[in-house]
Amino acid sequence: MPDTARKPFARHTAAAVSRQSEKRRAVYRRMAWLAAATVLAYLMAHFLVMHAVLGNGPENRLATTMAEAVAIALLPLLILLGYGARTHAWGLWVLLVLCGGMALYNRIAP
């Protein structure tokens, strides 16, 4: 077959392969962002519960259970924030700052 007949087909196939590979990479990126957002959101929720535990007030058990209720409400919201705001690349940064802040606060003033 002459080269002139093969070239457009080859170009078309290469473009399709490239599109597919780009799509695959996009999916991997999404999964990584989601995993990172989930880990950070979970840590934030955990630090929130720990804040109540470390408080050791007279109603400690109740405070812990309340903190769990708040943490459970926050957990999906934080995951959505961390993952959804990835367009502007600040979702994970916000989670990181929140998480670090909460950990620091637990350390300084439990």
Partner: protein, 498 residues
Amino acid sequence: MRETFRVHMGWLHSWVGFLAGLVLTCIFATGTLSVFDKEITQWMQPEVTLDHPPDPTPLALQRAAETTMAEQEKDLFAFITLPSLRDPVIRVLHYDGHEFIGPVLDPVDGHIFPARATAGGQFFYDFHFALRNGPVVGCTIVTLLGVCLLVAVGSGIAIHIKAMWPDLILFRPFGPRPRAWLDAHLVTGVLFLPFLIMMAYTGTVIRARGILPPHPFLPAQQTEAPPPAAASPPAKTNVSAPPASAVRPPTPPLGPLIAQAQQILQAERCELILFSPTQIRIFRSDDASLFLTRDLVTFSRADGHVISSFIQKGAAARTLELLHGLHYARFSSALLRWLYFLSGLACTVLMGSGLVLFLMKRRKASGQKILFRTAEGLTIGVLVGLPLAITGLFWANRLLPLSMDARMEAEIQVFFMLWAFSALHGLICALRNTAYSGWRAQLAVLVFMALGLPVVDGLTHSHGWLQDAGRYYTLDALAMLSGLAALIVFRKLRRQPS
């Protein structure tokens, strides 16, 4: 590819919704049935007559106490549930690792009904909250799935927030198939959104400790953690099964103790009576108010004097009681329970239609891939296999011999075997690229079994149809309705091959 906010949320909604939705659909379906767990138990134990007033006589209470002692002699941690308007009999129950089961006593003369061994509505309740995997593993999985559901709901709202109002009123059941399924998904999603969020959130909070344990992971926090003794244990955990060898003193008459407990707790009704070697604990009834409490009065087992009472107070405690009460819905009237049931059904439809949509959207691009076919096989197993297995459980309840050994286990085995067959058949059909015939074959079996259930119920002559038969008419009618719904889908599938 444009990476917009809606694209991200759409991807998250699709994948989290589908992967978690396969199990969440089953959890929601069994949770919906659990709204009527007591009524289902009564249907499955037709030997128990319910035409008595819900006030137990002293004789019946004495017999119940004796039965409890006899159960405890067998090393079972048995307790008494007192008659209520929904379930006007005395039950002496123990936890077998999955369900609360035990003898049923007449509230007038205290005789034990010769009721068939069955897991009853408790089976659906156990499946709903622990997937029959025990209170640790199962509950943790269900709680994690609850978080997934909240994420899927949140991303769904983010996708559709701009079109909330049109989604609420637009339903085109006779439109092209993807459109009709999408409309069904959106209408149920928008209309029942408050209920869905409420149930998902309260359900996840109830077992939150499973995924958010209140102990530190980091060593820095470990050093500052309070000693475990600082936390007072919940009232329930104070009670443990006494050793078989312990000598148990005779029980004082329970009637006066119940009256005293009602007075102290300012409750119209008490529900649970727990026994320890030295104490008797009487708990306030769950259906007393919207707040699901565990308020109790502790009496001495030797002479029946009041030792202490425990009444939860404070805004935080009341908030938690409210969250529990909203999820369990034990406070509700019959009308409200039906609303819970219908809302639960709508949410199950929401999830089921979501699963179907996921497959429809990807059939063209990925229909030949093995993962797609596996997903379709599993979807058949969930959407048709689960109702099939539930109907099979009811058939087994009527058809298995009453005197059969391990009858309860046999009923449950029928359920799981039917479900496993359905999933296997669905998978084989999907993998052989004949998913369409798999859907149709299983729907045909479901139609037969659901429409046949009232016939089986009638032919087995297990109960009368004139007196105290409301529960039989209701469940049989619901089975017929499910059969008719399956028949409509079956006929529609016959006309429109995919």
